[in-house]
Symmetry: C2
Subunit: 258 residues, 2 copies
């Protein structure tokens, strides 16, 4: 794989600060953060880099500093089921400690990414020693659950153009006012092909469905840039088939662990 270049980068001093900025670790003391970071490795990986495979023995969990990572599983005949696609500040692979110490999915970099990996052992002992942290962890898991519940709902209630609309809406800056008038410009964060997979449809369907969405809601699409002229129209079209109301932002999953 041409792009699968990897480079270890020396852990910069501000890793602690970075970790603290993640909601899951909010309540941790500096000393605890330091403990978690013992044995940390920071690496830069190119698109296509496989971080770990389903079923592999798990020693470490990961935190995304930059870029995007997809979690997926695959059948014997190669069909992939995308479980999730995660942006920066997300954690993944950590649930292995609650299972049999193997990863419950595979993880692959899909946009050049800086990834931090940390020993699971330290995480486990922190959970055991600090009830407050255990509660943070539970909160984070519960939030992820809602996120997944919503995912299931979307797949059964929304059609392809609506799923795309929902995806776009979640890219608008959080706390955007639904009444917002002026046009909003957003950027698709990764390949359209990957977005299609993330939304459970074929690339061809994505392309056509985006066309329909454009006609229905007056958005403008130029490559991976999208301009929302009339936010309310987009919301009306998209959110009618969802149990959430607009400023849902995916039940703000920025603080989910994964």
């Amino acid at each position: 794989m041409k792009h699968s270049n990897t480079a270890q980068i020396k852990p910069p001093a501000n890793l602690g600060q970075f970790l603290s900025s993640i909601p899951l670790f909010n309540a941790c003391t500096a000393k605890e953060i330091e403990g978690l970071l013992e044995g940390a490795i920071a690496e830069r990986h190119g698109k296509g880099y496989l971080l770990f495979s389903y079923g592999a023995e798990a020693q470490r969990y990961y935190v995304i500093k930059n870029g995007w990572v997809k979690l997926y599983r695959e059948t014997l005949d190669g069909a992939q089921a995308i479980i999730d696609v995660l942006p920066q500040k997300h954690i993944f692979g950590e649930t292995a400690i609650f299972e049999d110490n193997t990863y419950p999915y595979s993880a692959e970099v899909i946009e050049n990414a800086e990834i931090l990996s940390l020993p699971l052992k330290k995480l486990k002992s922190l959970i055991e020693s600090n009830p407050k942290f255990a509660l943070s962890m539970l909160t984070s898991m519960a939030r992820y659950r809602r996120h997944q519940d919503l995912e299931i709902e979307h797949r059964s209630l929304q059609n392809a153009p609506q799923r795309i609309g929902c995806f776009i809406l979640r890219l608008t800056p959080a706390h955007t006012d639904p009444q917002e008038k002026g046009p909003i410009t957003i950027h698709l964060p990764y390949d359209k092909t990957m977005i299609a997979a993330r939304l459970g449809m074929q690339p061809e369907t994505f392309s056509r469905a985006l066309g329909k969405l454009r006609q229905a809601t007056n958005i403008e699409v130029k490559g991976s840039t999208i301009e929302i002229a009339d936010l309310e129209s987009l919301i009306g079209f998209t959110c009618s088939a969802c149990t959430n109301e607009f400023p849902c932002h995916d039940i703000d999953c920025s603080s989910c662990s994964s």
Copy 2:
């Protein structure tokens, strides 16, 4: 609703024993169980009884002693998304404590059921005071997550007959030998219409898909009784579109909280 009869039943002495038998509470001492049970209410509800609605303020969580309960959400125009359908020994409504103290879904009895409801407060304090229990809770949540991940996968990779096959396979007694020769008889645990909804398809589709499954795998269907003549054939047909191998039993979700 004709069937929505409800009767309070006096908490029998063996509630403690019942709770202890649930994996989530395995590690609890008798004293802790007793604490959890303070303020417990046991009730019998008929089909159609609404236990709580999405968004309602949550004071209690629930444990199923008997029967089946569906968790769902609905859009403004009445379309329902079934999040899960739970059998006995399952817990639900407990995640409200990790959110804003409101239920993240509605819950309705779909087969006459005996339901135990317990105060969330006691649960929360147990989590905070007993790290071991917090860990059990995390384990349980992690398991539920895998269960949901699998659900998403099934919806994207399996077609209707395969989803039904998978549903049937998970009804076979756990640890059934895949090589098992003699015919296996199982009973559908609730309405076909409800199973269809649970699997994300229309009742008509369910009926037709079950027909296809019968032809493809030599199962016999008489009302809600199904006889599996050739288990291997059923497994071959069903599990080829799944990332799990057969004796998956849904990643044994008997110990999930929900």
